[in-house]
Symmetry: C2
Subunit: 299 residues, 2 copies
């Protein structure tokens, strides 16, 4: 094996910070890594996003390879070159676009994961079906979580995401459809980040919440029909249960959407479904509508 | 004037750090800047490099404009898209490549500068002549510092740098010639950064030291003749005087070249002159040769 050294960092979104990056850059500097060095990021989305960001910024950018080991990072972070870290509680607030030299995805890693982690990753698979493949959506919603075929679904998700990203690498337009469920989903995730560790949500769990709320917004705008809304809602509640959002969380969640990267000025812009298997973007939604969608989720 | 807010940061290389970036990002976040915001960096090289870096990383990159106000930043940092900050005392150790939306250069700003600052910027003009334009080199060395025509020299330097950068934007090869004088120059600058504020060197002053040492290395490798070495040395000593490098600094300077971004593994790679007006790159130089070149400088 060629000369190398291993840097381990604590896992979890709470450590996806500038402080952890500083430790990584310190280690890289101490090892005197030059511009021809290679960084290999083995881990979940936090490691890929943060390790990729550290490589992309060290000496103005050195090569890196992604080895995603969670279902979520295999179907999402592994494609599209988005790198970054959280800042002051805002998700992926600092970062760059940069493509890894290669991405190695092996479903064998799923055996190392607790079920809750796989369930979280499944949310992004569901999202890819909802925004781009109605047939696949019908297929997955016809099965229980335990019956899903992961190697097939991983390949399917990577292909869909790659197709979208190829058409719009830096998210000027179309790529925004990948954010379905993420405007309110990220806000919910951030809101719960500040709670006790026991209450914290996994990314996919928050996105499942966001997808129900944003499917409701799509329905309210007459972009999907009642049946589609019901299908989405039933499948997501059956798979993820219902998250306890307290009355005092609601305004915080709405305020948090103001930091969403898709916004323009004071307008909060959503990506919403237009029928199952299709998605539109840059749809301005008001705080009152968001309030209504959160109320709908809470039932 | 459209809605805007002003962030001021302390000047000087000592503040070109992650800590200052955090303050800038905090201010940007507080103002809720979205992806369509524009950052305008008004100031010297530190402001352009750091403000550009902050913009390039905020929400994975927003637009920025450079308004360089020092001679050094007008002829150097304004062209080529290198952005970044120092880290643990290493110059420009973290950063990215990113091109500003536009660059506004106005020689009127030179009237705001102390003479020492203009003299520092002149070093990069001298470098551009030495690596790429023998005729211009003869022209400037025939005049005293006070007689130089800044608007003409700024345009000349920007043109040369742009030509080099256009051929090799990310410094895989040719662009390295812009580093003539900078391998030992940066090491000298970093070494003096750790001294008392009174002893600190301006960037161009350190590069002038580096250019004499590296002209000597070029001579030792028979890439320039004795007369060219003498011309360079006499002009630079006459313009910048001689920096007092103490015996105990020498090994520190040599050790600091190990962090130079042009290196590959343990090899220290230089860009050296081949005659006045031309430059070669990727030339491996040993610690013993560096020691000799520092001794030559000290006379």
């Amino acid at each position: 094996m060629p000369k190398h050294s291993v840097v381990t960092v604590p896992g979890g979104e709470a450590h996806k910070t500038l402080a952890t990056c500083e430790k990584i850059w310190e280690a890289m500097t101490k090892e005197e890594l030059d511009r021809h060095a290679l960084v290999i990021n083995v881990g979940g989305g936090v490691i890929g996003d943060m390790g990729g960001f550290c490589a992309a910024v060290y000496k103005r950018g050195i090569d890196f390879i992604q080895v995603p080991t969670t279902l979520l990072s295999q179907v999402d972070a592994s494609v599209g070159g988005k790198l970054g870290i959280d800042f002051q509680g805002f998700k992926n607030h600092l970062g760059v676009f940069n493509i890894p030299k290669s991405v190695l995805i092996d479903p064998v890693f799923l055996k190392t994961l607790p079920e809750r982690e796989i369930r979280s990753g499944f949310a992004e698979i569901i999202k890819h079906c909802l925004i781009a493949d109605a047939t696949k959506w019908e297929e997955i919603r016809g099965k229980d979580f335990e019956e899903q075929k992961w190697p097939d679904l991983i390949a399917h998700s990577v292909k869909i995401k790659q197709q979208v990203v190829d058409q719009d690498p830096t998210e000027k337009g179309l790529r925004k459809i990948l954010n379905f469920g993420h405007t309110l989903g990220h806000a919910v995730e951030t809101c719960f980040l500040n709670k006790s560790p026991k209450e914290r949500l996994f990314h996919g769990e928050a996105i499942a919440v966001g997808m129900i709320m944003e499917a409701y917004l799509s329905f309210e705008r007459k972009m999907i029909d009642q049946q589609t809304l019901t299908d989405i809602e039933e499948f997501l509640f059956a798979t993820y249960g219902k998250v306890k959002i307290k009355p005092e969380d609601i305004e915080e969640i709405i305020a948090l959407t103001r930091q969403d990267k898709k916004n323009r000025g004071k307008e909060i812009r959503f990506s919403l479904l237009k029928g199952a298997g299709q998605c539109a973007f840059d749809i301005v939604v008001t705080a009152a509508e968001m309030r209504k969608s959160i109320a709908y989720y809470l039932g």
